[in-house]
Symmetry: C2
């Protein structure tokens, strides 16, 4: 499935169930394999973002033989479909989640705490940067680092 998908045609962002996504996958020439289904179940049940390793662990609880490289390949495919997005949370592994739930992050570089960032916060910045530099910001992809209140005051 990797190659034949029409490139980033921004399709299924609204996909709201495992079966719906699987339908989308098939419409694009992909196949509804067990690994894919279980991965999607895990993603739909997750209440936050998960690293590839966490996804693998959760998937393997139901389908023990699914290899982590299959997880990587599948999230990549699902990302191309617009169903999943990944974000980089400071150092360390990337975090995946359903595109519908995407949001930005603030990460304390002292204690590692991660705060979720409402999109409104970035609206002004995005507007200004677009106007002044012609650049369209994706505030979700990379977390912003800094210090949380406790570490700023305490340290």
């Amino acid at each position: 499935m990797s190659k034949p998908l029409s490139p980033a045609a921004g399709a299924g962002q609204g996909a709201s169930s495992v079966d719906e996504v699987l339908r989308l996958v098939r419409a694009r020439g992909g196949r509804a394999t067990p690994s894919r289904r279980v991965l999607l179940e895990v993603l739909f049940e997750a209440d936050g973002h998960m690293t590839a390793e966490e996804l693998a662990e959760a998937v393997q609880a139901r389908a023990p033989d699914v290899h982590i490289s299959t997880i990587y390949r599948n999230v990549e495919d699902l990302e191309r479909l617009g169903v999943v997005v990944h974000a980089h949370m400071g150092h360390g592994p990337a975090a995946y989640q359903l595109a519908t739930l995407a949001h930005g992050h603030f990460i304390c570089e002292v204690c590692g705490a991660t705060l979720e960032a409402p999109d409104e916060l970035f609206a002004d910045l995005a507007g200004t940067v677009k106007a002044k530099m012609g650049f369209t910001i994706d505030p979700h992809h990379f977390a912003m680092l800094g210090r949380c209140r406790a570490c700023e005051e305490g340290g």
Copy 2:
């Protein structure tokens, strides 16, 4: 030098010459080795950020036997001294530069172009986030991803 330095005492941000930094290094119990000196020369001469590999190449042009692990250890030490900072430019290696020249970055996730971000752009966001969430943003450490004008319009 790695251990004995007093932890992140935010000292030498103003250091403005190789010798000045070397003086600071010695004041902290470190030593002015040739590798260190050449690395600093390269950093002071650089007109932008450089990856560890680029630094190694430049240093090795003058001191061929300097190993890349020495580069890593030295930039780490210099970072502890507040002389150097590193930033993550999207995927790929980190970029180092003198702390006095630090700034944010916007990186086009399509063509890879990197734009430098004037600090004023982040002032409002920093203020709002500080007020609403108590979080102090460091806008330099991680680049923001998005699409540059050409790729946004063309794609």
